[in-house]
């Protein structure tokens, strides 16, 4: 064997060892991940707290990460009850809840699961895109989902949302982008229309949402029966109706072009708009803790953090405070009176 030959064979052995090491690292990492994924799933359980409940997504590290959890709305500091359903976005109402989750099906990556009055998974439908917003109507008839339909890298040149209203019992209403959009009393057929962030008006067929077109975002009032979206106001995103139905909380762009928002509250009767005391820019659909308080998820360590906390701010003013650590997607529900809550 000549010198270069020997060197080459030694290099070959080193390469072989390195290759085996790299393959082993990948294989063992995957194995651990798969085992961990199998281990979670059935975690938690236990009884739901009585009275008004604050339902959210638990982001505590460990097997319960991403699972729906519940605390009493009046005592958010109490230890959370973690439920089996794992979600990316969640929303709850007296009649049940909504869970937008990642599936194990590579072709249909996301799904919508309806939760019953004890927040157990039930009926399932597909979701065309990456989960963004979820809402369940107070009267238990409708639910709404918003998803980003970018899906894959090949389409990173723009983004589009798909907002669907479904009926809890019966055929879905469908994509509300197909509703007639009325701007300044005129029918508007702009092709670049996007709709997101639904909030339902209880006991009817009306809702509020955001419609974006030509780089403007409008607060719209929607009508499911007439299939219309009527623009009410400019620069409003992700509205949320207060439990008494008198106010809307939403985020409003305050920066020139970048995604900088500030929460505002609109008095529907007087049309007076008031900024909330939260000064951070938060990208979330606010939810009402009660008629005087608004809550929302704030990423830890600024935008782009992997974890979040739920904060609450009073309408009357005063600094926002931390409500639930390691959590997002908060909503409040008063369990239906006709059902016993054990």
């Amino acid at each position: 064997m000549t010198q270069p030959d020997r060197r080459r064979s030694r290099d070959g052995k080193i390469m072989l060892v390195l290759t085996i090491v790299v393959v082993a690292v990948a294989a063992s990492w995957v194995t651990v991940s798969v085992l961990r994924a199998g281990a979670s799933g059935e975690g938690g359980g236990g009884g739901l707290p009585g009275g008004r409940q604050l339902v959210f997504r638990s982001l505590r590290a460990g097997p319960e990460f991403g699972h729906i959890a519940v605390v009493p709305a009046g005592d958010a500091g109490r230890e959370r009850v973690v439920l089996p359903a794992r979600c990316e976005r969640a929303a709850a109402a007296p009649a049940g809840g909504l869970c937008l989750r990642q599936t194990r099906n590579p072709i249909q990556l996301f799904a919508v699961t309806l939760l019953d009055e004890r927040l157990r998974p039930g009926k399932e439908t597909r979701l065309n895109g990456i989960p963004s917003r979820a809402r369940f109507s107070e009267d238990g008839r409708y639910y709404a989902t918003t998803a980003f339909v970018t899906g894959h890298s090949y389409i990173s040149d723009g983004f589009s949302t798909e907002t669907v209203i479904g009926r809890v019992d019966g055929e879905p209403v469908g994509n509300i982008e197909d509703f007639t959009f009325l701007l300044n009393g005129q029918r508007n057929d702009n092709a670049d229309r996007n709709v997101w962030g639904v909030t339902f008006v209880p006991g009817g067929d009306r809702f509020f949402a955001t419609v974006a077109t030509q780089n403007r975002r409008y607060l719209v009032e929607g009508d499911i029966r007439r299939r219309t979206l009527t623009a009410l106001r400019d620069n409003v995103e992700c509205p949320s109706l207060s439990p008494d139905g008198r106010r809307l909380a939403y985020k409003k762009r305050t920066g020139l072009n970048n995604d900088v928002w500030r929460f505002h509250v609109l008095d529907l009767a007087s049309g007076v708009e008031t900024p909330l005391a939260e000064t951070r820019s938060v990208d979330d659909q606010a939810a009402w803790l009660d008629d005087g308080h608004v809550m929302y998820g704030v990423p830890k360590g600024g935008a782009g953090g992997r974890n979040a906390d739920v904060w609450v701010v009073a309408l009357k003013g005063g600094a926002p405070r931390l409500l639930i650590p390691d959590a997002d997607s908060p909503t409040v529900r008063s369990p239906a009176k006709s059902h016993s809550q054990r």
Partner: protein, 408 residues
């Protein structure tokens, strides 16, 4: 991967033999593309779902780096020539790409994400031209179209497998993006190992490094200057796949559900036609096949707006895939023989940068037209621009009887 590559037969017949280094480079690209595309496929989901960024912010991030790549490409080509070590420069590009995946692991948020994407793009830009030089110097010049075809077919296979692997892994452990990043990084390291061990360094015979003045002299080579101008003019008239898919969506030829499949179909056509069209280009002239490729792109535009339904979408994707097969590998194969040996990498990087820059410009312009007008009008506009570009480019390069490209 390592073992299977060693098992590749060294060619089955004298006439059909593809140099071993071309196949190895193809395998390296395959593995690296699996690695890169698995991350690219899940990154929008990771960014919006886990990090809570809006897709718009993510899209802007992406567009920013597309532009930056153009500069890095040029640097990659220039340094490969200046150091006269294309393998070293290409290898660094592969290594940077592997390191970029590691950056995704720590709990870094938006900042690290953008750094990782930027590094990955930089690595890709850096390695492309020197790697193409290694292919271009692997065999006789009259077979380059075919060699590049073989390389691009393997490359496209990797791009196709990447998302499959990524979503397969996510199906095993939903939401565990870290696992996807680790596997991607390991694949990238395997690619680097294969490259380092199995690709010989190409050492030029000429003495002395090149200077920037030599680069300027490239433009005095008539054939090269014409090819460069034609490539730049044609690429500005490209819409970008993403937008073309959106047009199909707007025409209701496809539904959002089938979106991922559009990319798959395009890639399948591309990888099936890369070798045959490479051979055709060796035989009938690479400039001709390259220009014909843009004719196919024009057909893709027209079928997107004129035909309806699934058949129309299928036709459009066929043309789009064929366009890639006729241009992507054929361009360096057309450029390499026109260039002096000591400036091959620089020259290839210049044409590729022109195409990348042109495409980025085209995408931005199309986006603007798309926002201002209806979808079909925007495509008609670009079809007209492309037709004009073709009329300009065809006489520029196909009539030039350059012995070295037109030789059969």
């Amino acid at each position: 991967m390592y073992v299977s590559v060693r098992g590749i037969p060294r060619g089955t017949g004298i006439r059909s033999r593809v140099p071993r280094v071309v196949v190895v480079l193809g395998m390296v690209s395959l593995i690296t593309d699996v690695s890169t595309e698995m991350v690219t496929a899940v990154l929008p989901i990771y960014a919006t779902l886990v990090l809570g960024l809006t897709p718009l912010a993510y899209g802007m991030l992406d567009g920013l780096y597309q532009g930056a790549t153009v500069l890095v490409r040029l640097l990659g080509g220039f340094f490969a020539d200046r150091l006269r070590r294309p393998k070293l420069v290409a290898g660094s590009g592969y290594a940077i790409g592997a390191a970029a995946k590691l950056l995704l692991l720590p709990v870094g948020g938006a900042g690290t994400l953008s750094a990782a994407v930027g590094m990955d793009r930089a690595g890709k830009g850096l390695r492309t031209a020197p790697r193409d030089v290694l292919i271009a110097t692997a065999g006789p010049r009259d077979r380059l179209g075919r060699y590049f075809g073989v390389h691009r077919a393997l490359d496209a296979t990797g791009a196709l497998l990447g998302p499959v692997v990524a979503f397969g892994l996510l199906a095993l452990a939903p939401g565990d993006f870290d696992m996807v990043f680790v596997v991607s990084c390991c694949a990238a390291v395997l690619g680097v190992l294969l490259f380092v061990h199995h690709v010989p360094e190409h050492r030029a015979e000429t003495e002395g490094g090149v200077s920037l003045r030599d680069v300027a002299a490239l433009l005095r080579i008539t054939g090269f200057r014409r090819l460069l101008c034609a490539a730049a003019v044609l690429s500005v008239a490209t819409i970008g796949d993403g937008f073309l898919y959106l047009v199909l969506l707007r025409n209701e030829s496809v539904t959002t559900r089938w979106f991922p499949l559009l990319f798959v179909c395009t890639s399948l056509v591309y990888l099936a036609l890369a070798v045959p069209l490479g051979r055709v280009s060796d035989r009938y002239g690479r400039n001709r096949v390259f220009t014909a490729g843009y004719g196919l792109l024009l057909c893709a535009y027209l079928s997107a707006i004129l035909t309806a339904g699934a058949a129309g979408a299928g036709l459009c994707l066929m043309f789009l895939g064929a366009y890639y097969a006729a241009t992507d590998g054929v361009l360096p194969a057309a450029a390499a023989p026109l260039l002096p040996a000591e400036l091959t990498a620089t020259g290839i990087s210049v044409v590729q940068a022109a195409v990348a820059g042109g495409r980025a410009l085209g995408a931005v312009a199309f986006g603007a037209v798309w926002t201002a007008a209806e979808g079909a009008t925007a495509v008609w506009t670009f079809a007209a621009v492309l037709a004009v570009a073709l009329l300009t480019a065809v006489p520029m390069i196909t009539r030039a009887r350059d012995q070295r490209t037109e030789a059969r």
